[in-house]
């Protein structure tokens, strides 16, 4: 199992070295700064869209919500609007809670055995860590992405400025440290540590589980390096990114630190990797039939597009099999 994270670690380090050497030694700024980002973007957009379209085109033959709350039945029984939604409104509520608050993950508990009262007891302890790491990780990622819009817009929209101000509220160092970057790095690291330290989790983990975490850790580290240690020329970076955004790409004169190109390369790899990986959960979570369907299948008929006729055993065949016995037992029959 060590191989799984070793492969991923080697891959990420190698990607970092390739891009660093590519720029610092071989001077391939154009390749890493323009070509690769564009290719990555195309792969991402086309790949992501085709996955969603493929999922969307696949039928949902049955309405199979996992009901986590009281169904709507009798008027005086309080029905659980979100955990057993009956209407589209309820489904939207359930999905919003799931996607914005990671509600199912919040329910997580850990099983354990303890001696007590003269017998081995099984207990279930609510554990918040996975939920906490995950939600902080995702929101930090979101804030980081939105914050980066300032590199691709001119003038920078007010909400991006506002978010950056709030994100930098700690006012540590100059330029000010962004909370989101630190949280992102910390949470990705904790998720990684968790994956390696918990035996069950380590046992189930694949290289594909370590790779994106390590890549994101790489992105966060290079980002923080650029802002606080290497101090890249932000003006030059914006010149390049605006060029990309306006489809008039050029490499700024005077150059940018190679660390920037490593950062950009990691981001490009991540983008291109998404459609082929478990990171597609960002799209899949919207389409899961156990969550996004109302629990009203007895009231409103769900149609299966591929429903086909099947061979059944009809009453007539049944009566033919048992007619004499039925008559003898006084059971009514269709044919005497």
């Amino acid at each position: 199992m060590n191989a799984a994270y070793l492969y991923s670690l080697i891959a990420v380090v190698a990607l970092g070295l390739i891009s660093y050497a590519g720029v610092a030694v071989a001077g391939l700024e154009g390749f890493f700064g323009i070509f690769i980002p564009y290719v990555a973007l195309i792969v991402f957009v086309v790949g992501f869209a085709s996955r969603i379209i493929d999922w969307g085109k696949t039928p949902v033959p049955f309405r199979i919500p996992t009901t986590s709350g009281q169904q709507k039945s009798l008027p005086w029984i309080k029905h659980d609007r979100f955990d057993s939604p009956y209407s589209t409104f309820g489904v939207i509520g359930r999905m919003a809670l799931e996607i914005l608050l990671f509600r199912s993950l919040f329910k997580n508990n850990r099983v354990g055995f303890s001696d007590g009262g003269g017998y081995q007891k099984i207990y279930y302890k609510w554990v918040v860590w996975l939920w906490l790491f995950a939600i902080l990780f995702h929101y930090a990622f979101l804030v980081t992405v939105v914050r980066h819009l300032r590199f691709f817009t001119e003038p920078v929209p007010f909400f991006v400025e506002m978010l950056s101000t709030v994100d930098g509220i700690m006012q540590v160092g100059a330029p000010g440290m962004f909370l989101s970057g630190v949280v992102l790095l910390a949470m990705a690291s904790l998720l990684l540590v968790r994956r390696i330290a918990l035996p069950k989790l380590k046992y189930m983990s694949l290289a594909a589980d370590y790779f994106p975490l390590l890549l994101i850790i790489g992105i966060a580290i290079t980002g923080i390096l650029m802002r606080h240690f290497v101090k890249v020329d932000v003006g030059a970076v914006k010149e390049l990114t605006m060029g990309l955004a306006t489809f008039r790409p050029s490499i700024p004169e005077g150059g940018i630190s190679a660390v920037f190109y490593v950062h950009l390369f990691f981001v490009s790899i991540l983008l291109a990797y998404i459609p082929f990986s478990k990171l597609m959960h960002m799209g899949g979570v919207f389409l899961s039939p156990t969550r996004n369907l109302p629990n009203n299948s007895r009231s409103v008929r769900h149609v299966n597009p591929w429903n086909y006729p099947v061979k059944t055993h009809t009453y007539e065949e049944y009566e033919d099999d048992f007619r004499e016995k039925m008559k003898e037992a006084g059971l009514p029959v269709e044919k005497e």
Partner: protein, 542 residues
Amino acid sequence: MVDTPKPEELIKNIDHTPPETPWEETVPDISPGNFCYPTKKKNLEYLSMPTTTVDEWSPADEEWPLPDNWQQIVHDGFKDLLGKYRSLKIFMDTCVRCGACADKCHFFIGTGDPKNMPVLRAELLRSVYRNDFTRVGKILKKIAGARPLTKEVIKEWFTYFYQCTECRRCSVYCPYGIDTAEVTMMARELLSLLGLNINWILEPAANCFRTGNHLGIQPHAFKEMIEFFCDDIEEITGKKIEPSFNRKGAEILFITPSGDAFADPGTYAMMGYIMLFEHIGLDYTLSTYASEGGNFGLFTSSEMMKRLNAKMYAEAKRLGVKWILGGECGHMWRVIHQYMDTMNGPVDFGEVPVNPITGTRFDNALSTRMVHITEFTADLIRHNKLKLDPGRNDMYKVTYHDSCNPARAMGLFDEPRHVLKAVCNQFYEMPENTIREQTFCCGSGSGLNTEEIMELRLRGGLPRANAVRYVHEKFGVNMLSCVCAIDRAALPPLMEYWVPEVDVCGVHELVGNALVMDGEIERTTNLRFEPLTDETEVEADV
């Protein structure tokens, strides 16, 4: 159960530490006791399903009797399912292996076998999916978690997809709602393309196809059994009841699992239904043709589920009833609630179900025309239509086991509780992580209620049994009620092993006990012919 260790030893030796070897390289233990017997060929033939190449074989055999092109069959079948079910695609693609599901499975808790973690159970299928259907898997192979479909993989599937009871508990905790029941259903469907099915599922399915019920009870015998219960009811209550069979023009068709006609304690629930219907003067009939509520097709393939389920609507139409009332059963209600109308509807008989006694219109069953018995009885109780003497159940301290399917595939939680609280004085809930949507399986659902894997079943049922033990020690609970026929067959041996002081009953057995019928004689026993305790009378006197 000869080789089964003592309960204390068994629980102490459960080890949740994963083994040294990676799961991909760990060979499953396919020795007797760890697998369900494969089906007899006659059942496959009767149901026109694919068969194995030899008649008699055992999973313990080195070489399995697969057709030459078995790989192609499974690959094509997999492709077909991926084209039919968005659920399968999403569940194959989105898992991030966060581990939230790992210790939610009763089989993992009871065995410690990592392949019983829902995530790895799905990986058994997912690894082949990656290999056969994804680009990354085709290029990176093992690094991407892909592995080719080999005979060893088929053996592993047979072992572990018949070690999942399709209870859906893991899907409650999954951030993407990945439902292992769905994954298991797909895997079993693939296995059945090779004729790999278990006898405990296929024999009932074949029986049901022919005789109308899993147990193969023929029409005259079904009638006799019900009449036998009526004799018992007469002895206990003094009331002579003569239910009708296959009667055209009845208002309601009542369908319950055949287990309720066959074995204790389901039979007491059956007596409860009959007494209730008699008491309220319900215009209903039983059918010998649709004499099975359960549907072992659900555990085989969607096609088999549809073929067996078709009887319900066909019989309702033939008899000309207005609507169908369904008895206490778990997976039966998954089929009725989530599949029946889609598969065999839209209905062409009857009208929207209305309780003829209370006038309540069951709008939640507008389209299927089928109502759950606890919805029906709860409505009667709410409208004070039943005279109840809960004191007659005072010998019982009752708890309630939410059966998996009514819980997580229907949302039936408060209806049975409303009934229970009305018919017994002493009702205690098990701990919250073990009831309602978090309920634990009996360990024998989805067709695994078979003797040859008894130890596995006892392990799978451990979390449920342990929660029962908790309320037994704390409150003196001695009766585990449920609304599932498989529970009523599986929980008694589970209790006997883990908490022998606790007995099992259907909710409507307790209804039957408490129900004060018009013109009944003074009862001296409950439906089990156990004397109503003196204690009850003393308390009543005070």
